[in-house]
Amino acid sequence: MIRPQPASLAPFAEDWVGGDIGGLQALAAELYGFVPEITGITAALNQQVDRLTGGDEGWHEPAASAFTRAWRRDSGTAEVLAAVIGQAAGIIGGLAAELAVIENALEEQAYAASRYGVNIGTDGRPPPVSAGPVADATTASKQHWALAYRQLYGQAMAKAQQARQQATRQLMDLYARVEPGARPVRSKGCVVRATPRSSGDGR
């Protein structure tokens, strides 16, 4: 069985676009790791129940069919849970990958700009640029690169924000399917509904 993994990240060294990109990817990997564990357990139990209730010598009392029905329903719910976890991992890993691409592009542009004398802040913010006439070619080049970096920085931040908003919407859609008190979600005939939990658990 191929274990799903989040996409590898574009290289980056700083933390300018915001968010813990590595942490998001690690969370996605952790969530992906739960999927085969859940499906492995339910598959093993399904097999055992088939063995228990199958064949002429199997368990065939009325209690057996009631048990099998109840187990099949819950086994299906576990499969839906695994699918939801996989989808959450995809959303979180996707955001991590997108932020890494943006961060990588920003850092590369910052490096290029710094070679032309543009002073980039430790947080990646572009320096103030005067748009007025310049005296020499070196200053003109520096001004050009500073303006270019300023423009790219603004675009990068907007893209990062857009990526977060999209991921937020996707997570909210996912949550709407599993939230406590939500309309039952049916997938392969199963219902997923979380039990309301008390708040203030310190996390």
């Binding site: 139990l45 063995r51 010598e57 187990w71 849970l81 979180i92 997570l171 939990r197 996390r203």
Partner: protein, 118 residues
């Protein structure tokens, strides 16, 4: 092996019941063990969060992870519950079978006694 030994150390449970009892017990044990494994897959409140860089994303992420943690806990409890119901079914069947076995032994003993007297 199921059923209480009779007066002559015999067990009156026929082989088909023994096989079912054995499978029921094995399956109940497996459900119990797998519920523990399932429980251990992730922390009860879901995995630890990661900072996404915006309060909106972090809020949505926290809700989803909390719901996943809740469903996971419920599933672990459900698996354990199925194990318990199998153990109950096993115990109920065993009582029925033992009663039937004891009755058979009594009939056999009585018949043997009558034959000896005759």
């Amino acid at each position: 092996m199921t059923g209480m030994p009779g007066k002559h150390g015999q067990r009156m449970v026929h082989s088909r019941s023994q096989a079912v009892f054995s499978d029921l017990r094995q399956t109940a044990g497996m459900f119990g063990a797998e519920s523990v494994r399932f429980w251990a897959i992730m922390p009860p409140h879901g995995p630890a969060r990661a900072d996404g860089g915006s309060p909106e994303f972090d809020g949505a992420l926290a809700q989803v992870l909390e719901a996943i943690g809740g469903l996971h806990t419920q599933m672990a409890a459900m698996i354990a519950q199925h194990g318990s119901s199998l153990r109950d079914a096993c115990a109920a069947d065993q009582v029925t079978d033992e009663t039937a076995g004891d009755t058979m032994e009594e009939i056999t003993d009585r018949r043997t006694h009558e034959l000896r007297r005759a």
